[in-house]
Amino acid sequence: MEQFTLRVITPDRVFYQGDVEMVEFNTTEGEIGVLPGHIPMTVIIKPGILTITEADADKEAALHAGFAEILPDGVTILAEIIEWPNEIDEARAEAAKRRAEERLRVNTPETDMARAEAALLRAIARINVLK
């Protein structure tokens, strides 16, 4: 199958670089899957799972924030926060999820709704990528 170059860059390392067949992730406009030859486009990332389809295997990572630049021959994801499954602490993610749910449920005027929601989405993405 046809391939294109995927680069995932974080502020302190090159997270992933290689030729892939397809890449899927969650954006502000919904989940998208990118195949080679896509029109040039820039999208903003929402917390979710990044699925990388290589020629012989699939890889997953929890992608939390950043944006992606899509070109016909390659995709560059500038990720502010991203983790491989083995870097995630499941117990901590579960605790964070419960905390965020609690905050959203109680919903006092002081609660920063946007922040609690973002925290919940991040926790869910972490837990999902471990499954």
């Binding site: 903003i44 630049e69 500038l78 502010e80």
Partner: protein
């Protein structure tokens, strides 16, 4: 002429100072290597960020948006990046001078201090310190930059500050560090934005509305600039300290050699004097 004992004591004290400056030089050399690697690793991310932001700015040129036009209310926020420790030559005072001798009036700015030295110097000069984030200066981490830029942008949208500036030391190479004052907000549209967007060929599409794209991208851009400033400042700090300690070690070397000379002269003259006295004594008896 000072006595032999005085010279000896002085020499000993300079020698132990030299040992300290030598050790500090070695430590900052190692730290500099690490900080430089950090700065280099973040460069890819920064370049990608810059290109994307330039392309959207070229597309939205002429649009009215608070991030592009600024607001007239409130003071200007300056993020001042200095070190927590001294003995780094002119590193800290050069950054502080950018502000005290710059075009800003004292009452129209608030300082967000990263680094104790800059905070203390500006507080002494009667500047208003809005926040002290000195703990993030030593080991810059991206989440710290996110927190700071989040706070600044929140204050900006509340109308408390009218612009954001960044004062830090740019790391050119091991011996050249340039203090710079950079405007983060309102965003300066790079001069080459236009031409680059035109030469890029296929136009970039944005999935969302232009305004929304600006709302989402500019904060990330500012975070990356702040992070870039933090890592470069850390590298410059260690570079400046390495140089300062190197010349201190050299100066100590010089002083020790001149003191050795003095000591030997004093020693010789005291021997000569003793000899003259003995001979004079012997002559008097015979």
């Amino acid at each position: 002429m000072a006595s032999m004992r005085d010279i000896k004591r002085r020499k000993g004290s300079i020698q132990s100072t030299q040992q300290i400056t030598k050790a500090m030089k070695l430590v900052s050399t190692v730290k500099l290597q690490r900080a430089r690697q950090n700065a280099e690793r973040s460069r890819d991310y920064f370049t990608g960020m810059y290109e994307t932001v330039t392309s959207i700015l070229a597309k939205t040129a002429g649009m009215r948006h608070p991030y592009l036009n600024g607001s007239s209310t409130g003071k200007k926020a300056i993020v001042v990046m200095t070190s927590n420790r001294g003995l780094a030559g002119g590193y800290n005072s050069n950054v502080v001078k950018l502000i005290t001798r710059g075009d800003f009036r004292r009452d129209e700015v608030v300082i967000y201090a990263v680094g104790k030295k800059g905070r203390d110097a500006l507080a002494r000069a009667d500047y208003e310190i809005a926040e002290d984030l000195s703990e993030i200066a030593e080991e810059p981490a991206y989440p710290d930059a996110m927190r700071l830029s989040g706070e600044l942008l929140a204050a900006f949208s509340r109308g408390e500050i009218s612009g954001i500036y960044l004062a830090y030391t740019k790391f050119k190479n091991t011996v050249t560090h340039v203090p710079v004052l950079m405007r983060l907000l309102p965003v300066e549209i790079p001069e080459d934005a236009r031409t680059r967007a035109e030469s890029a060929g296929a136009p970039m599409n944005f999935e969302m509305e232009d305004e929304e794209a600006l709302n989402l991208l500019i904060p990330k851009y500012i975070t990356s600039l702040i992070y870039g400033g933090l890592v470069e400042a850390a590298a410059s700090e260690n570079g400046a300290r390495m140089q300062a300690m190197d010349s201190a070690t050299g100066n100590a070397e010089e002083m020790i050699s001149s003191l050795s000379l003095q000591y030997n002269r004093a020693r010789q003259s005291s021997i000569t004097q003793e000899l003259t006295e003995i001979i004079a004594g012997a002559n008097a008896i015979t």
